[in-house]
Structure formats: structure tokens, C-alpha cells
């Protein structure tokens, strides 16, 4: 896990004054892993999500089934990338975390 420290308020949106001062990022690079490992390991990571962490997934194919599972579990996500370069996906359970801002770090969105 890589802790991310940001300036207060910079990456937390919303009117919640008790914005997180640090967000831990769970990382998984699933490129090159053979089915079903990418999905299985991603779901394990989704289960580890709490109020103070994100899950950053890099994967070679757009993982529609995983995003459907995330939606069922009330986990929000933001996606960028392509099949050629790989997909970056950020997942969060905490809706106060501005994923659109975070995703810019990985793709020029």
C-alpha cells in the first residue's frame, strides 16, 4: 500500500469539512495476468476498501464484469485508458473522494 498525502481540500470534494488528510492507495497491476486472476484479485481488493483508501487497478482489457460488481456493491469508480495502453481504474467506497481528480495522475484526462 502506498500512502498518499495531499494538501487538505485539494483532492477531497464536497462540503464535508472532515475531508481525509491522507488516502491509502491499494495497487494492482493485472496486465498480463491470465483469466481469471485479474477479476478474482480485483474483487479481493474491492473487499479491502474502506472509508480511507482507494484501489488503483491497471488492466489490459476493459473489465466490464468487475465494474458491474463494483456498482452492485455501491463502490464508485473512475476509468481512463485504452486497450492499447491499458486501463487505469480507481475505486472508492467513500463518495467524498474526488476520483476525477485522482485519475488525472494516471491519464491525461
Amino acid at each position: 500500500m502506498r500512502p498518499y498525502f495531499g494538501a487538505a481540500g485539494r483532492w477531497a470534494c464536497g462540503e464535508d469539512e472532515r475531508a481525509l488528510k491522507e488516502v491509502n492507495v491499494l495497487e494492482l497491476d493485472a496486465r498480463g495476468l491470465m483469466h481469471p486472476e485479474p477479476l478474482e484479485r480485483s474483487v479481493q481488493m474491492l473487499r479491502m476498501l474502506g472509508e480511507s483508501n482507494l484501489f488503483h487497478l491497471i488492466i489490459h482489457r476493459y473489465p466490464k464484469p468487475l465494474l458491474m460488481i463494483a456498482k452492485e456493491h455501491g463502490v464508485s469508480f473512475e476509468v481512463c485508458g485504452s486497450d492499447e495502453d491499458g486501463w487505469h481504474i480507481l475505486f472508492a467506497k467513500n463518495s467524498n473522494i474526488d476520483l476525477k481528480d485522482f485519475i488525472k495522475r494516471y491519464c491525461s484526462v
Binding site: G32, L33, M34, H35, P36, L39, E40, V43, R47, H60, R61, K64, P65, M68, I69, E72, H73, D83
Partner: protein, 403 residues
């Protein structure tokens, strides 16, 4: 899942139909028992797998969800079972009055499947090569059904002024190559890369082959009724198209990132090798007129279809069980590899190869059909055990989710 779970039962029926038929008649494709067996395989096994796969793949691969899928799947499944049993029984037991309810039932059900799925697929904005391939496949199914209707009308005594042998040749090509063959291509474009982490298919194959197959089928249809040599040219080009597809797929499988081969890799390899040789024998038959080459081509093509169905099932079924349990929030969801144990999948692979060996025996004695039937029966039973085992896991856990 209900479509896949029905396949073992039709496999057993196919086996029984083969075992209790006159072995000397089975190789003659216009004999009623042969026609019955062909329809048991094509409707009871292949169609069940194709329709079941489309129901699952449209939302995930094509981004085209079907509204009320469970409701539609239930009655489509039931009517397909009834129609298949009736039409096969009509041919097998010479009870041709069964054609009266069977044909409208099957035409109506398939017609609805085509309408339901085509409307969703045409509405997809960025159509991938897989989506386009599925559209071609469903259109081909539609054309094949039209020719089935014409054939049935003639069979029941109508005088349409058309040669039934020509109608049959068009019907067979659209069903086997246009519907099943192109659908396998469309699915392979996605799943070979997805499941086995291979490079994607070359652009020329993805862009041209499905539409090329449709064009050649239409060319064949027009040419055969005009008694033109272009019909043979279309046949050879179709065979070449599928030969190239098979060769490229085999190459892709050799380029897997992880070299360990499970049962499904070997099933895909078996499928593609059979497709390649089926294509070669078909070209030989077209050029020389050798009947045995046509028979070899047909049997190898049937083996290709079965191999793909099994290869896909052993990936799709564990995935579906795993996916739906996770979507329900079941913490104890097993890993996909534990839903159908790899040892049982490998056992099925060996049985499937035994089926090929039994089929080779057909070139020495027609009594080898009994062996073919026996192996199909055992293979179907094992396949059923594997699928129902997966369903048992799902049923035992589905109510334990927190969602």
C-alpha cells in the same frame, strides 16, 4: 445457464439416436435418421449453446443488455426444447405430422431471438468486430430459417418450383457457416485474447472475415440457382476463409503469455485443427466431387462445433457462477478454478479425444457409429456432472450474500 444445462440431455438423446439407428444409413445425409441426428446436434446442442452464450455475451461483450432476460430466456428455452424434440422425432420415427407444430414453433422462437438480439446489437453505438460478427451470425440464422421454411413446405407437398436439394445446400451453409461459424469467430475475437492473454486478431480478419463470409454465402446462393461455376468459387473461398481463421487462432494460442495449457486451451486447439481439416476436405470435395471428402468435412465440422462449445462452457459457467455470487455479496464465493475442478475438465478432454478416435473408425466400418454413440453418451454424462456440480455450488451459496 438453463441453455447450457440442457446440452447434456440432448447429448444423451443424440447418442441414443445414433446407437439405435442402422449404422449403414447414418452416413447418408438425406436419410431420416441422419437428418434427425443432425437436428439433435444443431438444435439441441449447438443452438442451446449459441443462444445461451448470446444471452450472456450481449450485455458483457457488446454492451447491449436484454430487457427482462430471465423472462425471455425461460420461454425461449422451453419452446426450443419442444420444437427440437418434435422435429427430431418427426424424422427419426417418421411421424411427419409432428412437423406441423414443430416448424412454426422453431421458426417463431428463433425469429423472436433474432429480433430481440438484433435490435439490441444495431443500437450499440461503437460496434466492435465482435458486435458486427454477431449481427452477421443472426442475419445468417434468419436466412437459414427462411430456407428451412421453404424446404418444409416442399416436404409437406407444396410445389414451389424450386429444387429442394439446392434449397437444402443453401440452408446448410447459412446455418453451419453463417450462423455457427461466424458466431464462433465473433466470440473468439474477444475471448481468445481475454481468457488467454494473447495478441488480438489481425485487423484484416476482424474487419473483413464476418462480412466476407456473408458476402460469399450470398454469392453462393445466387450462383447455385443460376447454375454458375461461381457457386464452387464461393465454396472454396469460404473454406479458405475458415482455414485462415483456424490457423491464426492456433497461432494466437501459441502466443499466450502464460504457457500452461488447461483443458480449454486443448479444446480450442482441437476445435481449430478440426476446422482447418474440415475446410481442406471441403475444398477437396468441391474440386473433385468425392463424397467421402464431404462426409469427412461434415464430421470434422461437427467436432469443431462441439469442441468450441465445451471450451467455452468450461470458462463461461465458472465465471457466471463466480460473477453472480460476487454480485450478491457472497463472501465465501469460491475461486473460479474450484467451481469446475480442472481434473474433471481434463477427463472430459480425454473423452472428447476418444470421440475423435471413434470417429476415425467410421472410415473403416460403419459399425464405428455405435462406438461414436457410446462415447457421446459418456461425454454428455460427464459434461452434465460438471455443469450441475457448478450449479450446486451456486445454489448452496446464493442466499448467503449480504446484498
Amino acid at each position: 445457464m438453463r441453455f447450457f444445462l440442457t446440452i447434456p440431455f440432448f447429448g444423451i438423446l443424440t447418442a441414443l439416436a445414433i446407437i439405435f439407428s442402422d449404422s449403414h444409413m447414418l452416413g447418408a445425409w438425406d436419410q431420416p435418421h441422419s437428418v434427425a441426428v443432425v437436428h439433435l446436434v444443431m438444435l439441441g446442442i449447438a443452438a442451446m449453446a449459441m443462444v445461451g452464450a448470446l444471452f450472456q455475451m450481449l450485455p458483457v461483450i457488446a454492451g447491449a443488455p436484454i430487457s427482462e432476460p430471465l423472462y425471455h430466456a425461460r420461454w425461449i428455452h422451453l419452446l426450443l426444447i419442444l420444437g427440437t424434440l418434435m422435429i427430431s422425432a418427426a424424422f427419426y420415427f417418421n411421424i411427419y405430422t409432428l412437423m406441423h407444430p414443430a416448424v412454426p414453433l422453431l421458426l417463431g422462437t428463433f425469429g423472436f431471438v433474432i429480433y430481440l438480439m438484433l435490435t439490441k446489437l444495431f443500437a450499440v453505438e461503437n460496434k466492435t468486430s465482435s458486435v458486427k460478427g454477431m449481427i452477421v451470425s443472426l442475419l445468417s440464422l434468419g436466412v437459414g430459417l427462411v430456407f428451412a421454411l421453404l424446404l418444409t413446405a416442399i416436404f409437406m407437398g407444396a410445389d414451389l418450383g424450386l429444387d429442394p436439394l439446392l434449397l437444402r445446400s443453401v440452408h446448410v451453409r447459412f446455418m453451419l457457416l453463417g450462423w455457427v461459424g461466424v458466431l464462433v469467430m465473433a466470440v473468439a475475437f474477444q475471448v481468445i485474447e481475454m481468457f488467454y492473454v494473447t495478441p488480438s486478431y489481425p485487423k484484416y480478419i476482424r474487419l473483413i472475415f464476418p462480412l466476407g463470409a456473408l458476402f460469399l454465402l450470398l454469392l453462393y446462393t445466387v450462383s447455385i440457382f443460376l447454375d454458375s461455376v461461381l457457386a464452387s468459387v464461393a465454396d472454396i473461398l469460404l473454406a479458405l476463409l475458415f482455414l485462415v481463421f483456424a490457423a491464426v487462432t492456433i497461432k494466437r494460442l501459441m502466443q499466450r503469455k502464460r504457457p500452461v495449457a488447461d483443458a480449454t486451451v486443448w479444446l480450442w486447439r482441437s476445435a481449430m485443427l478440426s476446422l482447418a481439416f474440415a475446410s481442406l476436405f471441403f475444398m477437396l470435395h468441391t474440386v473433385t466431387g468425392y463424397g467421402w471428402a464431404a462426409t469427412a468435412s461434415a464430421l470434422l465440422y461437427a467436432y469443431f462445433i462441439l469442441s468450441v462449445i465445451f471450451a467455452m462452457s468450461y470458462k463461461i459457467v465458472p465465471f457466471l457462477v463466480w460473477f453472480h455470487l460476487n454480485a450478491k455479496g457472497v463472501i465465501e464465493t469460491p475461486m473460479m478454478g474450484d467451481i469446475i475442478p480442472s481434473k474433471r475438465a481434463m477427463l472430459h478432454l480425454w473423452l472428447h479425444w476418444a470421440l475423435f478416435a471413434a470417429g476415425v473408425g467410421l472410415f473403416f466400418t460403419p459399425y464405428a457409429w455405435k462406438g461414436v454413440g457410446a462415447v457421446i453418451a459418456v461425454e454428455s454424462i460427464l459434461y452434465g456432472i460438471n455443469l450441475f456440480g457448478a450449479m450446486k455450488i451456486y445454489n448452496s451459496l446464493k442466499d448467503k450474500g449480504h446484498l
